[in-house]
C-alpha cells in the first residue's frame, strides 16, 4: 500500500482541504472562470485519487461550511509531504489555467507553499508539473473575451 493511501474519513478531509485550496486560487481575482472550475474536480479524481462521492461530501456545508483559509493552511501543514505537494501542484495548475496571474493568486501560492514547508526547489518543481498539466487541460489565453 502506498503511504498516501488513507482511510475514508481522511479521504474526505483531504478532499475538503483540496477544494478550499482550489477555490481560493480559482476565485482570487474575484470571478469563477469555467476553465478553472471544471479542472478542480478532474484533478481531485485523476491525481488525488478521490472518488466522485468523496468530492461531493467534501463540498457539503457540514464539511466545508465553517472552514477558513487558515484552517486549510493548518490542514495542509499536517499532511504527508507527498500529498501536500500534490495539492500545491493542483493549486498551481488552477492558477495557470487562464494564462494570467493576479496578486492574490501569488499571495495564496506563497502562503500554501510556506504552510507545506517547501524549499524554493520544491515549489519550482510543483510549478513545472502544474504547467504541464494545465497545458493538457486546454488552457485559455488572456484577454480573449470581447475580441472581434
Amino acid at each position: 500500500m502506498s503511504e498516501t493511501t488513507v482511510a475514508m474519513n481522511e479521504q474526505e478531509q483531504l478532499a475538503t482541504l483540496w477544494f478550499i485550496a482550489a477555490r481560493a486560487m480559482a476565485v482570487a481575482d474575484g470571478t469563477v472562470p469555467a476553465v478553472k472550475e471544471a479542472s478542480a474536480g478532474l484533478y481531485a479524481q485523476a491525481i488525488l485519487g478521490l472518488s466522485e462521492e468523496t468530492c461531493r461530501v467534501a463540498k457539503s456545508p457540514e464539511s466545508i461550511g465553517n472552514l477558513t483559509l487558515v484552517d486549510c493552511l493548518a490542514g495542509v501543514h499536517a499532511l504527508p509531504r507527498e500529498l501536500a505537494e500534490k495539492i500545491m501542484t493542483g493549486v498551481m495548475m488552477i492558477a495557470f489555467a487562464d494564462g494570467h496571474m493576479e496578486p492574490l493568486e501569488v499571495r495564496w501560492a506563497s502562503m500554501l507553499a510556506s504552510a507545506c514547508e517547501m524549499t524554493d526547489e520544491d515549489f519550482q518543481r510543483c510549478c513545472a508539473s502544474a504547467r504541464v498539466i494545465a497545458s493538457m487541460f486546454n488552457p485559455t489565453a488572456p484577454q480573449v473575451e470581447g475580441e472581434e
Binding site: 469563477v32 472562470p33 463540498k59 498551481m92 495557470f96 524554493d120
Partner: protein
C-alpha cells in the same frame, strides 16, 4: 402533433426562423421517428452555437460543435445548465445519426431541453431581451396500444431519470461549488480572507516562500505555457506577456509597500502628537 396545437417553438419565429423551423420539425417526428427528431435537434443546437460564436468570438467559428460548446463554456458565454442540455442533444443526436435506436421518452426529454435552451438563446442574440416562452407542452402521441408498450415507455423514462441523476452526480463531484451554495457570497468571503492574509504578510513579514519569488517562478512557467499551441503566442510575445504580468505584480507589491510605510508613518505621527499634547496638558 395535432393540428390544433401550435408548435412549442413558435415564439422563436420572431428571433430566428431557421431555428424555430427545426424545432417545429423535431416536434413532428418525436413520436413517429425519434431518431429524426434528435437529428433535427442536433442541427438546431449547432445552428444556435454557431450564431452565438459568430456574435461573440468569430475566430472560433470554424471549429466543430463540441469544440465550439467547450470554448463558449470556457469563456463564460454558456451557463452550465444550458451547456448540459446542449451536450445532451449533441450526444444523443450523434448516436441517432450513427444508427442507435432512440426511445421516444429520450427524444421528448431532448425536445424539452431544446425548448428551454432556445429561450435562453433568444436573450443572448438580442442582448437584454426578456423572452417568456409559453410552458412546454409535450406533443400528443398515439394512445399506447398495449400494456407491453406502456411498460417499455415507463422503463425508458426510468432509465432517462437514472441517466439524469448520474450526470448531475458527476457534475456535482467535479465542480468547485455546490449548486446550492451562494457563489458570489462565497467568492467575496474567500477574497476577503486572501486580502487579510496579504495584510498579515505585509505587517509580519513574508512567509517561508516569499511572494516575489513565487511571482518570478509563476511568470517563467506562464511564459512557457503561453507558447503552448492552444494559446498560440510566439516566443517573443509569450516573453513580453509574462514580463508584463510579472511587472504588474511587482508594481503592486511596491505600491502596497509604499502605502503600508505611509500608513505606519501617519500612525507614528499621530502617537507622537498624542504624547506631546498629553505632555503639554500635564505641564
Amino acid at each position: 402533433m395535432s393540428s390544433e396545437q401550435g408548435s412549442n417553438f413558435e415564439f422563436l419565429n420572431r428571433y430566428d426562423d431557421r431555428v424555430s423551423h427545426l424545432g417545429a420539425q423535431a416536434e413532428q417526428y418525436v413520436h413517429t421517428d425519434p431518431e429524426s427528431c434528435l437529428f433535427k435537434l442536433r442541427l438546431m443546437v449547432e445552428m444556435m452555437a454557431r450564431r452565438l460564436v459568430e456574435l461573440q468570438a468569430p475566430r472560433l467559428a470554424d471549429l466543430d460543435l463540441i469544440a465550439i460548446l467547450r470554448s463558449l463554456e470556457q469563456y463564460g458565454m454558456l451557463p452550465k445548465k444550458q451547456a448540459d442540455g446542449m451536450h445532451a442533444i449533441r450526444r444523443d443526436g450523434n448516436a441517432a445519426v450513427h444508427g442507435s435506436e432512440t426511445p421516444i421518452p429520450t427524444a421528448m426529454r431532448r425536445l424539452r431541453d431544446a425548448h428551454r435552451i432556445s429561450a435562453w438563446y433568444c436573450s443572448m442574440i438580442h442582448r437584454g431581451l426578456k423572452v417568456h416562452p409559453s410552458q412546454f407542452v409535450p406533443p400528443p402521441g398515439p394512445v399506447q396500444k398495449d400494456d407491453h408498450s406502456q411498460a417499455m415507455h415507463e422503463a425508458a423514462e426510468a432509465l432517462e431519470d437514472q441517466i439524469d441523476d448520474r450526470r448531475r452526480a458527476t457534475r456535482e463531484g467535479l465542480l468547485l461549488f455546490n449548486e446550492q451554495e451562494d457563489v458570489p457570497t462565497e467568492v467575496h468571503r474567500i477574497v476577503s480572507e486572501l486580502e487579510g492574509l496579504d495584510r498579515v504578510a505585509q505587517a509580519a513579514g513574508e512567509p517561508l516562500v516569499d511572494a516575489e519569488f513565487v511571482a518570478v517562478v509563476m511568470a517563467m512557467e506562464m511564459e512557457q505555457l503561453l507558447e503552448h499551441p492552444t494559446l498560440g503566442l510566439d516566443t517573443r510575445e509569450a516573453k513580453r506577456e509574462a514580463e508584463k504580468q510579472f511587472q504588474r505584480i511587482k508594481d503592486g507589491f511596491e505600491l502596497r509597500e509604499t502605502l503600508y510605510a505611509e500608513e505606519r508613518r501617519a500612525l507614528m505621527l499621530y502617537h507622537q502628537r498624542e504624547r506631546q499634547d498629553r505632555h503639554t496638558r500635564e505641564n
